[in-house]
């Protein structure tokens, strides 16, 4: 049994996946919501297990590690998935009630890919996990298969995704060719020698990761996919696969490479710059709340790349912290959009008009999420931005910090436009916005996360620093 210890979460999730699948086969009738509850509570149970687990040594000959970093992000994936599934239970459309098993099997399969990815220390494991994570996402993006836009978005996502996967696989083949081993430790050691092919391979592989985290110039799929997908899924899509992409990035490019990590500073800094610029500037003219959040999410990725550009243990730790803050802030914002869309039938920003006078608590929650995304003190996002800037300043990247800080002002402009709709403009219609209990609970969880991390970020920061330290 001890041999299976490091795989506890993956095995548990696999069992849950099979259970959900079988339940889907056995279920009859049009309302199959109990399956959704099974999946949601199962993920919650796995989260509880993950919180109790201790880091373990490498397994499968070092191909699979359950170290602090893996565990840190696995807890994050499970938290995000729990919130996302919880918010999705009460989706009003009949298609979701009828096809609940399908939806949840796909989400759980993708989650399994993320969990394995977080632990992968081998190129093959990494790539397989990467695909396991990605392919269900393409299907889920087109889940509303009767709607043209959903199919279009799904296809676009799939095409861009498979091309970047192909380029990544191509790059990884060069890496294998240069190193002669699929072990990431061996790859890191090989950097000491002068291998142009290895550098080329790593550069090509970067494309895959950048696509997954939606950095410029691989971000085009984001707004369309987000706009067309079911919102609770999009909320989850906007955070969990991003986190997975970053972890894989750290595993391949930073772990064990020591001083060689610094070679990626110019590229990461340049990517951070263009990603922040694109996301923030493109968000300004948006009229649809989900598209706005899509572009703001791209900008957020840019800020995380600032932390990557620091190429240091503290930079990595601060990206991890940023991801935690981002999970709560971004999912929360999407879920409030979902709540309004169910009530008003509109995902436009104008649906927010007068929300503060209709549902003051919902408006307050949205304000907190926006302030967190904008990086305002006393909510989580402030510390996140501050810490990545800090890490970059430690490495002397003052110009990047200044640029990032100035662009937060641009970001605040479009966040404040939403705040203005909610707080300053009068409502179009009276009455509270109806809110299903599960959706309300998931919004509440996000709000709690944002506020608690804002008031007392220390434990999470310390944990992030602790798990990032062994990488360098």
């Amino acid at each position: 049994m001890s041999g299976l210890g490091p795989f506890a979460l993956e095995l548990g999730l696999g069992a849950l996946l099979v259970a959900v699948f079988v339940a889907g086969l056995l279920a009859r009738g049009d309302d199959r919501r109990p399956i959704a509850w099974l999946a949601t509570l199962g993920v919650l149970a796995l989260l509880a297990v993950a919180l109790l687990l201790e880091p373990a040594g490498p397994a499968l000959g070092g191909r699979f590690v359950q170290d602090g970093l893996a565990l840190f992000v696995k807890r994050l994936f499970l938290t995000a998935t729990f919130i996302g599934l919880l918010a999705g239970i009460s989706l009003p459309e009949r298609a979701f009630a009828r096809r609940a098993a399908e939806y949840h099997v796909l989400v759980l399969a993708s989650l399994l890919g993320m969990l394995v990815l977080a632990s992968a220390r081998d190129l093959i494991v990494l790539f397989v996990a990467f695909e396991l994570m990605s392919i269900p996402l393409y299907v889920l993006a087109g889940f509303r298969k009767s709607e043209g836009e959903a199919v279009e978005a799904s296809l676009k996502f799939f095409l861009v995704g498979s091309v970047s996967s192909a380029v990544m696989a191509y790059g990884l083949s060069f890496v294998y060719g240069a190193v002669g081993s699929t072990d990431l430790g061996a790859v890191a050691r090989a950097l000491d020698g002068d291998h142009p092919l290895l550098q080329l391979g790593l550069l090509l592989a970067l494309v895959g990761f950048l696509f997954k985290v939606a950095a410029f110039p691989f971000h085009m799929w984001v707004p369309d996919t987000y706009e067309a997908g079911p919102t609770p899924f999009v909320a989850w899509l906007s955070v969990a696969p991003k986190a997975a992409g970053f972890v894989a990035l750290f595993r391949v490019y930073f772990e064990g490479t020591g001083a060689h990590a610094a070679a990626w500073v110019p590229i990461a800094a340049a990517l951070a710059t263009v990603t922040m610029l694109t996301g923030n500037l493109m968000a300004i003219p948006q009229q649809n709340a989900k598209r706005l959040l899509a572009y703001s999410g791209i900008a957020q990725i840019g800020y995380m790349l600032v932390g990557v550009a620091a190429a240091s243990a503290s930079g990595t730790a601060m990206v991890l912290f940023y991801l935690v803050a981002y999970v709560f802030g971004n999912m929360g914002a999407f879920l409030v959009v979902e709540a309004l869309a169910r009530a008003e039938g509109s995902e436009a920003i104008s649906a927010f008009r007068g929300l503060a006078q209709r549902s003051p608590l919902l408006a307050l929650a949205m304000l907190l999420f926006l302030l967190s995304l904008g990086g305002i003190p006393f909510v989580a996002g402030f510390w996140a931005k501050l810490y990545v800037f800090w890490a970059a300043a430690e490495q002397g990247l003052y110009w990047l910090v200044l640029l990032g800080a100035i662009l937060t002002v641009v970001a605040l402009f479009y966040y404040l436009v939403v705040a203005r709709k909610m707080y300053i403009e009068p409502p179009d219609r009276p009455g509270r916005v109806p809110l299903s209990p599960t959706l309300a609970l998931s919004v509440l969880l996000c709000a709690l996360g944002v506020v608690l991390l804002g008031l007392y970020p220390k434990p999470v920061v310390m944990a992030a620093l602790r798990v990032a330290a062994p990488l360098f």
Binding site: P377, L386, F389, A393, E394, V401, V409, Y423, I424
Partner: protein, 509 residues
């Protein structure tokens, strides 16, 4: 020395008030006002108390408190006041105390209004008492953000409709509306804080990344290049808040659109917070940077003085006149600081106080006039002195202080600044400064004559003088102007204990 954390009580009392108002006083407007009044009274009484018991012989930072917040990063909640911040704390107390009375009649969503106002005040107090640069920055942000909602919800839009070639563009962006002003103000100030943040990090990293404490950073001597760039960053960052030309344009829009108490607090205290940041962090931590860039600070300040005064002359909206006069007077503050002389720096700090009280009074009066006449157009009004003699008198006192009449606090401040300018390395600064005072006389007297002393306007009937709580604000602020004008030593004494050591560090090579 004092057995209780007096500075923390001053700082956090309004915040406690804000929380109480949010949670207990729903739909009870009187309770809202009483909570606001009680908490600000606590802060005000204690500010006067520390002003009196501050030991001028010992000088330096007193009433020290320290609680480590994030020990590994060297962040702690560290507060203390010296002579300079002491005066600023007193100013904040005077203005907010008067502000609570001046906004007694806010009717719509008054619960949220007072809660935000009090949260803002905590931010302002916090900036003035913080010794930890990081906590200073947190309070600074707290002081900036509530402003967006305060102006956006309770502000007023101007009556002047855009004309001319760019009218179409102005209408599209909503120039002159409160929403536009709120957004502009918030974005400008956050743009400034981006520079402050970078400067702060640069200092922290260059000092060895161990502590954010002002006292530790002060003991570090930074490399001249670092000093130059960080001073520039602080100057731009805090300077935006202090309204330096050409980054001042948020201020007239913001102050004109803001509700009365917010204009009072913003023009009276928050702009000072910018100047205070330049003096405390810029000049205090970066003596060489300050010396190298004094020419820039002073020259731009001269532009401010003259440009602000000329702009004020061209306005027809009463609130814009006062708002531009703030830009002009903040130029005098920055000019005094840039002289790097004892007289000039004392003048700058005293001017912050004098102008704060004066402009607070101005905005309170403009608010009252607007509330009664529902107009801000100067040329529609006239002869109000007959029907509102109290308001007219207070306005005249503020005007005279504004143009620097002896026996008002404005006179002392301007005289000291002029003396400093004359003795500084750039004596020519004196001329724009004096010209600014002259222009001030032109525009404030013109406004006072038109509105209060001219022939009665046919547009208005049944106007009243100030009532009940409003008198408190007027009498208090007028009295402070006169008392500190007659006995400037009350303020110069403690301020001098802070400016002399500051200058000693700068002048020593």
């Amino acid at each position: 020395m004092i057995p209780f954390p007096v500075l923390s009580i001053i700082t956090w009392a309004p915040f406690v008030g804000a929380v109480l108002i949010m949670f207990t006083a729903r739909h009870r407007p009187l309770a809202v006002r009483l909570i606001a009044l009680v908490t600000t009274t606590i802060s005000t009484v204690l500010s006067v108390f520390i002003y009196v018991v501050y030991d001028r012989e010992a000088a330096g930072f007193q009433f020290y408190e320290r609680v480590p917040l994030v020990p590994p990063l060297g962040i702690s909640y560290e507060v203390a006041v010296d002579g300079m911040s002491l005066l600023m704390v007193l100013l904040t107390s005077v203005i907010i105390f008067a502000g609570v009375f001046a906004s007694w009649t806010v009717a719509t969503r008054s619960q949220e209004f007072y809660a935000l106002l009090l949260a803002l005040v905590t931010g302002v107090y916090g900036v003035f008492v913080s010794l930890d640069v990081f906590v200073f920055f947190l309070f600074y942000e707290l002081a900036v953000l509530p402003m967006y909602l305060l102006i956006g919800i309770w502000g007023s839009s101007g009556e002047v409709r855009p004309r001319g070639v760019f009218a179409w563009a102005f209408r599209q962006t909503g120039v002159g509306t409160k929403e536009y002003a709120a957004m502009k103000l918030t974005l400008y100030l956050l743009f400034g804080s981006a520079f402050i943040l970078v400067g702060m990090f640069a200092l922290y990293v260059n000092a060895g990344a161990a502590s954010f404490s002002f006292l530790d950073l002060e003991a570090t001597t930074f490399d001249p290049t670092v000093q130059f760039w960080v001073f520039l960053a602080f100057y731009v960052g805090f300077g935006i808040l202090a309204g330096i030309w050409p980054l001042h344009t948020w201020s007239p829009d913001g102050h004109a659109s803001a509700p009365t108490a917010v204009s009072m607090l913003h023009a009276g205290v928050l702009m000072k917070l910018g100047a205070y940041g330049v003096v405390r962090l810029g000049m205090g931590l970066l003596p060489e940077g300050a010396t190298d860039l004094a020419w820039l600070v002073g020259s731009i300040a001269c532009v401010n003085v003259v440009y602000g005064a000329l702009s004020a002359m061209g306005q027809t909206d009463l609130k814009y006149v006062i708002a531009y006069s703030s830009v002009s007077h903040m130029g005098l503050v920055m000019l005094g600081a840039a002289t790097l002389t004892e007289a000039g720096l004392n003048g700058a700090v005293f001017q912050m106080f004098a102008h704060g009280v004066m402009t607070g009074l101005f905005f309170a009066l403009v608010g009252l006039v607007y509330e009664k006449a529902h107009s801000r157009e100067i040329f529609r009004m006239g002869g109000f002195g007959r029907v509102m003699p109290g308001i007219a008198t207070a306005f005249t006192v503020a005007s005279l202080s504004s143009l620097g009449l002896p026996a008002t606090s404005g006179f002392v401040a301007e005289l000291l600044t002029f003396m400093g300018a004359w003795r500084s390395a750039h004596p020519w600064w004196l001329w724009p400064a004096v010209a600014g005072t002259f222009l001030t006389a032109v525009y404030v007297l013109r406004v006072a004559k038109q509105i209060f002393w001219g022939p009665p306007s046919p547009h208005f009937h049944h106007l009243e003088d100030a009532r009940g709580p409003e008198w408190v604000a007027l009498v208090l602020l007028t009295a402070v102007i006169v008392v500190f004008g007659v006995a400037p030593g009350l303020a110069i004494g403690p301020v001098d204990t802070a400016t002399v050591p500051l200058l000693a560090r700068i002048i020593r090579p």
